[in-house]
Symmetry: C2
Subunit: 118 residues, 2 copies
DNA sequence: CGAACATTTGAACATCTGTTCATATGTTAT
DNA sequence: ATAACATATGAACAGATGTTCAAATGTTCG
């Protein structure tokens, strides 16, 4: 009586459902990638950055000014956002201009909004 | 020369863009709520739970079995998911059956998938 | 009521995550 | 080349987050 007490032994498990659903699940990696993507939207600072970029492309300094945060903090987050291909950048002289990579940010944010307002 | 070195003084800030975008931003609370919603999708365990529930409603014990995790860990996460109205539950005798509250989970997950596969 | 089962909950712990601070890199103009 | 500016980066620190463990709650059935 100490094997695996936490998992209900067998009583309440509905084997049919469990077996069926186990097969239908996507592989570990796909789920990992999905969670990683949504993590980007799960932080206030990054959410704000994306909202800002929905309006206009911008240099790091502008974003920092708009959000009232340090340039360093923004730069760190931009790096993270870039790594998940949500935003890209190009250099323009001394500045680096950041902008959304595609329309996915807009659609994902909109889906989220729909859930909130109801 | 020590005031706020991190925020670019005034040189690089494009006042016109900054002013315009500042006004367009949603209020702090809306952004906070949105980030909170996406946080739910940003954890592997919760993501798996939602995937499972996309296939079928289920009791806590079944989910724990499918994911190979302790019943306690699942229960904690179910509580969090419930607090953001993504899932609901009903009691059926000794069991508690969990299920998705509406179709938002499906649409949000699908939007995420679209970004990943391209 | 008491025993067995299913789920919930709280505290503790370890890990992950975001910001800060100091410094480095890269670009332009003198 | 040097100075000034814009951005990036690394280490350190603090706070948030997820799992575990132990114990509590709630439900059914004899």
């Amino acid at each position: 009586m100490a094997d695996d007490m936490q998992l209900c032994e067998t009583q309440c498990v509905h084997e049919d459902i469990v077996e069926k659903v186990k097969k239908l699940l996507p592989d570990e990696e796909a789920i990992y990638d999905l969670a990683d993507l949504f993590k980007m939207f799960g932080d206030t600072t990054r959410m704000k950055i994306m909202y800002v970029l929905l309006e206009s492309e911008m240099c790091v300094c502008d974003i920092a000014e708009i959000l009232g945060m340090t340039q360093s903090a923004i730069s760190h987050q931009l790096r993270i956002l870039k790594s998940s291909k949500l935003i890209t950048s190009r250099r323009e002289g001394k500045s680096v201009i950041y902008f959304l990579a595609d329309d996915h940010v807009r659609s994902i944010v909109n889906q989220g909004m729909e859930h909130i307002f109801e």
